[in-house]
């Protein structure tokens, strides 16, 4: 075994012991990968988004000399050619709509209409293939046509190519740098699948009053799909948790009553379904989830890693600590506007408050975007090593 492989084993153990709520030798620390790495190079964000080899080179240069355990995030969540090949209107990428150094954005619309509910509920996959894809992709306007078939092949090929590159990059980083990936696979809460991608935020929030039964039935219909999607995108891996970016379950989208009735049951079913397969969920609670912590505590022990973004950290520790691994501690705005000294103090506080008895991973609480400063991220990682020894 090479030194780097030994290092990988050591870090993998540190991270997974914490995920199991145990006390490793040190507090595992996470490197937040994001668009910020590009601004320290002469490469545009557009180039980094499209040219995966180039962006991997940039990342390699940044992480080479840093001592951290786990890497989370990406320069780009999606590879644009996958969408460009289908003439897909879901995302705006830098260099086409936005200037070449802007991040990508999602274009939210009611891609699924209220009258589509029954057909969707009866067979979500069929509805997506015959109704949704033609609406969001110019190249797929006429399903079954030669053009649409070619577009489907192009899109699938691009997806496979990109996933393959990511897998190989992950392997390279594990082998050459001893770095562990934070997650494998991806899933969502059914309510978010419906609200983010299909009905839109406004659409689903109005549906709660106008057609609540349809919302419930649609969320239930999505549950098996989101379990399957998690396991497929993780290629069956159960050693690491499945990434689940969560949106409309954050305060103050829904009242506790609505949350309990519409958001939680189907999401809980996905988490429990995955847990039954041995797969833990990376509960990426973007925003503030404080009012719902007691309900989240009903989940089976250790079935999630709870990520603290704007949630009250002390309360999260009190309600979830010991039974679920907590992840976070450093606010994303501090990484942008703070000084290395302030970041260091924050890391010390976070480890004291959250990490005392294990079951804690030190990380940025939310998505770190292009605004973060390199010196603050380096300070976060170094401080974690300084204060994070048990």
């Amino acid at each position: 075994m090479s030194d780097k492989e030994k290092l990988f084993q050591e870090r993998f153990k540190r991270y997974t012991v914490a995920l199991e709520c145990g006390k490793p030798d040190k507090v595992p620390v996470v490197f937040p990968l994001g668009e910020w790495v590009v601004k320290y190079t002469n490469t545009t964000l557009q180039e980094a988004y499209y040219n995966v080899d180039k962006s991997n080179e940039i990342i390699g240069d940044v992480i080479r000399d840093l001592d951290f355990d786990v890497m989370f995030g990406a320069i780009n969540l999606w590879w644009p050619p996958m969408f460009d090949g289908m003439d897909c209107k879901l995302y705006k990428f830098p260099g086409i709509y936005f200037e070449e150094n802007s991040g990508f954005q999602y274009v939210e619309e009611e891609y699924m209409k209220a009258e589509d509910y029954d057909e969707f509920i009866a067979n979500p996959t069929q509805w997506l293939a015959t109704k949704y894809l033609p609406r969001i992709c110019g190249e797929f306007a006429e399903p079954g046509s030669y053009r649409a078939t070619v577009a489907l092949i192009k899109g699938a090929a691009a997806f496979a190519m990109h996933n393959d590159k990511l897998t190989k990059t992950g392997e390279k980083w594990a082998k050459e740098y001893g770095i562990v990936s934070a997650t494998t696979g991806m899933t969502k809460a059914p309510f978010d699948t419906l609200g983010d991608a299909l009905r839109g935020t406004k659409g689903i929030l109005l549906d709660l009053r106008r057609r609540p039964d349809k919302v419930l039935a649609a969320c239930e219909a999505i549950v098996p799909h989101n379990i399957a999607y998690a396991m497929i995108t993780a290629a069956g891996d159960t050693s690491l948790p499945c990434f689940a970016p969560l949106h409309k379950g954050a305060y103050p989208f829904l009242s506790l009553e609505h949350w309990q009735k519409y958001y939680w049951p189907s999401w809980k079913a996905v988490i429990e379904g995955l847990w039954a397969l041995g797969k833990r969920t990376f509960f990426f609670a973007e925003g503030d989830w404080t009012p719902y912590l007691e309900k989240i505590a009903e989940l089976p022990d250790k079935s999630i890693v709870f990520c603290i973004d704007l949630t009250d950290a002390k309360k999260a520790k009190k309600v979830l600590g010991g039974r679920f691994c907590l992840y976070g501690g450093v606010p994303t705005t501090l990484l942008t506007y703070g000084t290395p000294e302030e970041v260091k103090d924050c890391v010390k506080r976070a480890i004291d408050e959250l990490g005392g008895d294990g079951g804690f991973v030190l990380a940025a609480g939310g998505v770190v975007m292009s605004d973060a400063k390199r010196e603050n991220i380096v300070a976060m990682i170094e401080a974690a090593r300084e204060y994070g020894v048990y």
Partner: protein, 207 residues
Amino acid sequence: MSKEALSKAMAELEEEQVIALVKELLGSGVAPLEIVKALQEGMVEVGNRFERGDYFLSELVMAGEIMKGAMDILEPHLAGESTEHKGTIVIGTVRGDIHDLGKNIVVMLLKGAGYKVVDLGVDVPKEKFVEAVKETGAPLVGMSVLLTSCQGALKETIEALRAEGLNPKVIIGGNYVNETVKKHVGADYFATTASDGLKAAAEVFGA
């Protein structure tokens, strides 16, 4: 059947009842502006309930939709009638960001509270903010931003206003803004909820 009942139905988010009452009041000869006022009162109550934690975003979005339905009926009757307002506010989501949920909610509550709101939309370049402030003389400008990566645009836009000698108060709003961001970009207020925005407006306009 009364204006009070309409305000109450609005506050309770009783969509069908609001629409029926608007039609009824119009039919019985009540001045359209009086009806708008009753709806606004209901909307103020919606804002208060949000502030108290009784209502959530889902309720605010519903309130906006009901208001829109009511205004669709009322607007043809309002032509030519001058509406009084407490003052003008220019608002928009800054350059590079296309999120509008928070902005739309605060616009709705500000209108409900009796302000004239000039909504510039999303992905608004700094030049457009400057132009709108020059045209309207608005004493308060709202800049919305969700993505932390677009917070730089807040600073640029505020600097552009100041460079033109324009000194309206500036409030920044969004899920990830705080005191640090406010100071960094040179804003006067920050808001993470629509009700914080309303409080700042009340302070600026002494309303």
